[in-house]
Symmetry: C2
Subunit: 515 residues, 2 copies
């Protein structure tokens, strides 16, 4: 539980990489996890357990269940568990089987002042699973894994309604049998759920072509302690505010999303992923902006800075010709992909790009869900590794990029050793783009505190340059220090007002999003 | 004030059309407006006027000002004024010059319990200007016309920030000098304001290419009685709910939008509008869906049913070859438009379309803002003329279309004469489309009641077939009978909760949207 995913797929660091890291970063001794994680005693009174059981949902209080819901997957989450600390473990795990049982669970929690933390794939990296429990009878994880059905597929409107606990690979599998895809591939793809995507405004790696998850959502069904919301009557509507957009990104504090209706697309017949080299990140960024604003726009468009490009080249065995790597992924009909490739090649070569052919794209596709496995191996080796992401308007991006990079580098540099920081543009829009930073440093004696200081510096740099504190990870607890200032006191009051209506006793995800 | 727009552009009905309508619809005697409209006495106490004046805003109580803010532009609004009734006229018109003055006006209204109706271009067709005044010290129209500046243009991010009172043609003019366009051309284009577009979720005729107005909005500044909201930190963000989408479509009940930041685009170098004929509306609808889902997607895509096609052909002088007319408008670079035209021609001919060349597109472009002028001439001639719009998923559309059409036709048919009802698909999305109905009938003795019955029948048909009560006109007062059921009691409670936070004394647009 303090590692990512499937144990059989655990990564090992090649000796050369380990040696290089050791020499560059001045690593401490290896830091394997402690063998036993201490669970706090389960605190939920018997009457609460009985009330939960009356909902019809399965209620588990065994250690394995509690431990597997004790934390998300941020580096800090893992570091805490690796140190044997599971202070945030819920007292029980509640597993409803359908929307009605979710409603009944929420009523029981509301009536008995039981705090509820919503649990989808458990992949939050912003402390989204660390709900507060003080002042409550106890804390339960509401695990939506049993809400795993495809409820409806409308091939004419190209929409599909899933229960919220369906994991992304299962959704793709169910859609593929009917010739469709959702096209949402975030790094958490293999474990995250559709409900989680909706609750946190997830963005997938093919967002340029398929859109952010919040743009794919056509409808939502949401259980709250005071009743059910059913939103999304038409493709688009002028019938008042778009309340789907109030629930998307609400991170479980207003209600539990139980059903998600999404736009689907035909499975692309052709996929062509190509690499491009640019002389430097500024030139590559301008080329990325050109595609985002005037096209042709690939389904996948990402662009690494010089350091990330060099690190990737090292991993791939040493094509160290410098500059910056751009990956473009075209998807669609054979004919459209071919036509777009021609136009794209014209455009990018005109913008200073040198075509690298399909190999960089192949390598990226192969490894695109592997980073979390690599992180575990790095943590074992005494490396502190984490990511930071943001988004800004194009005109602000040249200020945000060095400010965040330098803030991280400065905060994590050792006395005589640097921290390694690199970045790529991961999602693009006509008005701006997101930046995704990765940082490696030698673990200090207290790596949690070490990261806390670096994160604070990065968050302050993001805020100071006018960017958003999160483009696609969400707020959780980790981004709260910046969230209030980003949206302002009136917006904060609006969110609290909505909370008071839907969850008047505040049992949903206390401490998350609203602080 | 009971006519649309510029008096010098008033339309006259060709004798042939008048004769045809008279024979088909069995028209009554011509119905010119009464010469004098009666204004109720201005009721605002002196202390309220003084409080408003202290805001720094200009305050007008003259009859001309009150009368020009007495109603919107629905047929019912016009019928009432034509009958000499201006019961909804505000007691005063308040004209602030900037955001701070709007804030001060709202504070004065809040402190003195003065109801405020937000006034942009005054083009609401859903009773959006008929705020309630009972229980208030009086009612003032807050006219945003003096907030008329372009505050910022960021050519790199392609965004522009306008004050909310800027009218659409002025916005285009200001952008054109810098080589940009907004691309938002609703039928109200010539008079409506950017703030009004945002407050009502307007959709323009080129929405397939440029998006709905709510999709163009990058940022909003909103004055409320309790403070200011400033929303839109980044192109997209996962930092909580998207509160822009809570203010978009809020129709002035949460606050007054004072600034709008929008995505802009380069002025297209080439425009090519083409007509296509299909055998029938079902085939044309399928072709429209094919373009919306798989492209190539023109900037403008509209598709008339058989009756609308025949009526248009009559107006154009008689190309009565039957079937259904589709208009496609391509905009962009010369090269892209040419390539898209080739692909579009391939696609549409494969789907049963016969190319009609540029003439139908030219005719449509020429007349596209003329319909409101024609309505005045029809009302003079004793014709009842109005429009109804909705949107539905593609799979529901074949049910919604005949249901609404037949509801209108049945409700408005005379004893021996039909009502004329026609329709076009006006806006398309991958999951569905909007339907825009136009209806002509002989005016009854009480045309307001006559339309009320027809509107009720149409609204019920829309609701019964699962469509939305408004795709782009908004809720106002006219759509309230269906709005609550469409969004449900929980969503209604959420809206009231937000209202309580931002406008605790309920002075903003009482009776609008929230009933």
């Amino acid at each position: 539980m303090y590692r990512w995913g499937d144990p059989s797929r655990a990564a090992t660091l090649p000796d050369a990489v380990r040696g290089l890291l050791a020499s560059v970063l001045d690593l401490p001794e290896p830091r394997p996890p402690v063998p036993v994680v201490a669970l706090p005693p389960a605190a939920l009174p018997g009457r609460c357990l009985r009330a939960l059981e009356e909902s019809g949902a399965r209620v588990r209080t065994d250690d394995a269940a509690r431990l597997s819901h004790a934390a998300g997957k941020s580096t800090v989450d893992l570091l805490r568990l690796r140190a044997g600390v599971a202070a945030d473990a819920p007292d029980a795990v509640v597993e409803p089987a359908d929307h009605e049982q979710v409603v009944a669970v929420l009523r029981a929690c509301d009536a008995n002042r039981i705090a509820v933390v919503a649990f989808g794939g458990g992949t939050s990296v912003v402390g989204g699973l660390r709900a507060r429990r003080d002042g409550y009878a106890g804390l339960v994880a509401l695990d939506l894994a049993r809400l795993d059905r495809l409820l409806d597929l409308d091939p004419v409107s190209r929409t599909a309604t899933f229960e919220a606990g369906v994991r992304a690979p299962r959704a793709e599998e169910l859609l593929a049998t009917r010739g469709f895809t959702l096209g949402h591939f975030p790094q958490s793809f293999e474990y995250a759920t559709l409900g989680g995507f909706a609750a946190t405004r997830s963005s997938g790696q093919a967002s340029a072509g398929y859109g952010r998850f919040d743009q794919m959502v056509v409808g939502l069904r949401v259980a709250t302690p005071t009743g059910t919301l059913h939103l999304g009557r038409a493709p688009h509507s002028a019938a008042g505010p778009d309340l789907r957009q109030l629930l998307l990104g609400s991170e479980g504090v207003f209600g539990i999303i139980t059903e998600v209706t999404v736009q689907i697309r035909p499975t692309p017949a052709a996929r062509r992923y190509l690499g491009w080299r640019f002389s430097d990140f500024a030139t590559a960024t301008e080329a990325t902006r050109a595609l985002a604003q005037d096209g042709p726009l690939p389904a996948v468009l990402r662009c690494s800075d010089e350091v990330e490009t060099a690190v990737n080249a090292m991993g791939a065995g040493g094509d160290d010709s410098g500059g910056c790597l751009m990956i473009t992924g075209l998807e669609g009909t054979e004919e459209r992909v071919a036509a777009t490739e021609t136009a794209l090649t014209d455009r990018l070569t005109g913008l200073g790009g040198r075509p690298l052919g399909p190999e960089p794209g192949r390598a990226w596709l192969r490894d695109r869900f592997a980073a979390p496995y690599l992180r575990d191996a790095l943590l074992d080796a005494g490396v502190l590794v984490e990511t930071v992401e943001t988004a800004a308007f194009w005109s602000a991006l040249p200020g945000t990029y060095p400010a965040v990079r330098d803030a991280l580098a400065t905060a994590l540099a050792g006395r005589d050793t640097p921290a390694l920081v690199w970045c790529h543009i991961s999602h693009v829009y006509p008005s701006g783009a997101s930046l995704y930073f990765t940082v490696l440093a030698a673990q200090a004696a207290d790596p949690v505190a070490q990261w806390g200081a670096a994160k604070a510096a990065a968050g302050d740099a993001i805020a100071a340059t006018g960017a958003t504190i999160s483009h696609h990870h969400g707020i959780g607890r980790d981004h709260l220090p910046w969230y209030g200032a980003e949206i302002g006191p009136q917006a904060t009051a609006v969110l609290r007002g909505v909370k008071d209506v839907l969850d008047p006793h505040g049992v949903l995800n206390p401490g998350i999003l609203l602080g």
